[in-house]
Symmetry: C3
Subunit: 266 residues, 3 copies
């Protein structure tokens, strides 16, 4: 797999500072011909699980060989490892804190290395901003032809986040967590269409939320234009709760981590 | 007109998800040498009229041959058409829901086609994300030399939004709607300097709002530094209400759709 | 110093309009091969001092020859000068309103010119949007080989902001202002690590805020994981108040301009 000169960035830096811009600058210092694309910078602060989902939802839209850099990093400057990995058709750079958990459920990890070669760091490294001083230059190095193994020693296993995917209870009910809320207020649940079919079979669905029971299922948003909350499969393959022209997260008071129950009433 | 490898994006996706990034990825899969620029991603959710204004305000700042992609698309996944058009010196791709209404008042529509050729779609197409699966690859195809007619059959008329432009009443008063509020709280009214001259002639203006009458007119913001609300012509040629160092929309409680009255007191 | 075809933008335009996109379009009209990077667009509206800090924190992460354009410009359209300068390894374009004050404390000003050559402006120039009509084309001109002196006559001194840096009082107490709050709620104080050492020497620090006294100092965020507010040096070399996993600005009610006192209790 040959890396492209194409880097994406996923962070929790937001847009009110110049942190994202500084990461791009530090990469362009290594290679001014790089193409750097923002995947998302509004991961909720330090929410590694949300970052893991946003990265999973987005990485595969990019060309083979793209280098994805993700920085949601409450442990910046401490002993936690910075890693660079190859998985499927992509490269990934991230702190070893579980941020790659969801991507690595979809893509086999081929190779991973600690990022520690001094040649691919800014000097000195700020203990509060390794995105700029460690990850960006390392990604730019890869894009410019550096081999993964030149970054540092190989890593065996990467840290994983706790598994929050839907779980079938002995009663036949499926416990499912709220995973993410997007800019439209649409609520992503931590179960994919495929897992749902495996766990509950096909047939109608019934989602119990603290405030409402939802049993409409649509293929598009507009089919829900009557205004009632409904379920659909989102563009990343996950089950989603939506309200046409409204914000389901607000109306139903759903936020990440809340547990709900799915059943097949048939 | 030869398309540039330059694409702009205007959407209501916001920045809290990876949707915009995914659109860019899907375009770069087709041609990794594309230059993709964000025009605006904070069109208020599903507000086609606001998107139409933001596109009108921005498209002409770009080089001849730029491909403008706009996605504010409450009907995504339904039978509404996706179209690609050439108008004036630019290309435009959008759902056929009125989003191009304002651009097409300024630029003659030369040619429009439905986007349906399977070769220029991701497969399968998500019924909730045609920005990524239909519009982005089609735009990238155009940028790479595809002809508009290769995307699908020609379209005659495009859908238009209801006309909300200022209307002269028999009493000689001009009814004008609030069209948009920008990040400074400046309030754009749906009347251009040119329409104003045609409808009311030159001479002083008087804007009646529910809470205040505004009769100062300035050329620059700083001329209004006394602090009172005033009128000026904004950078897109529209009449605007502003408060120097303040947010006129908040102070005067003005939001899109509110109707106001303009007169020439002389 | 040879300019790169690399431009950064720092503005207070926010993301809800198409203003930033229009600036990019206007630059690309001059040279479609430019690489334009966002440094920050959420400078608080018309807060020149915040813009000056964000520019200072970010400019040096970029390659030698980068052209930094900054527009926080309450005086747009008036007699205030638009300037283009060379300082250290970079070029800077900005209104002459103090926005370059902090950069020019770090980098010697080599050369500055008024931007007024008609060939490098859009015509007509909107009196409300010189970012698009004056600064962007001038920056693109520089990137394409124009000499600074071709933009207009030389400028002697640039306007400076009032000095808000920490000041040692006769009592030995250091008065320090809140300078900026980032997206994590971290609070930047207007004193660098280097100034601190010069003014107070080494040794423990004690920050008095209206609501709390802070005397923990850490090197990384995670070292503060007990939850109490603490001091650290941020990635731009400034003293910062932070709360691990929380928002110090909110918890301590600190916002730009508030004055605090630093002492060395030893």
């Amino acid at each position: 797999l040959k890396p492209l000169k194409l880097i994406t960035l996923t962070t929790d830096f937001g847009h009110s500072s110049s942190y994202v811009g500084q990461m791009k600058g530090a990469a362009l210092v290594v290679d001014s011909g790089l193409h750097i694309i923002d995947l998302c910078h509004e991961v909720p602060p330090q929410q590694i699980a949300a970052g893991a989902y946003l990265l999973e939802a987005g990485y595969a839209a990019f060309p083979r060989g793209t280098i994805h850099v993700a920085v949601v990093d409450p442990g910046v400057g401490t002993g936690r490892r910075a890693v660079a990995a190859r998985a499927g058709n992509y490269f990934f750079l991230a702190p070893d804190n579980g941020l790659l958990t969801r991507v690595l459920r979809r893509e086999a990890l081929e190779e991973a290395h600690v990022i520690e070669a001094p040649a691919y760091r800014r000097s000195p490294v700020s203990p509060t901003f390794e995105g700029r001083d460690v990850f960006a230059p390392a990604a730019a190095g890869l894009a410019s032809g550096l081999a993964l193994r030149e970054l540092g020693p190989p890593v065996g296993e990467l840290k994983e986040l706790p598994d929050t995917r839907a779980r079938l209870e002995s009663t036949g009910r499926l416990e499912v967590q709220v995973l993410f809320v997007d800019g439209f207020g649409n609520v992503t649940l931590d179960v994919t269409e495929r897992e749902l079919a495996r766990l509950l079979g096909s047939g109608p669905l019934r989602l119990e939320t603290p405030h409402e029971v939802i049993d409409e299922f649509h293929r598009t948003y507009q089919e829900g234009s009557s205004g009632a909350p409904f379920l659909l499969v989102n563009s990343a393959g996950y089950l989603e709760v939506a309200i046409y022209g409204g914000r389901a997260a607000d109306a139903l008071r759903l936020s990440p981590g809340i547990r709900l129950t799915l059943t097949t009433p048939a």
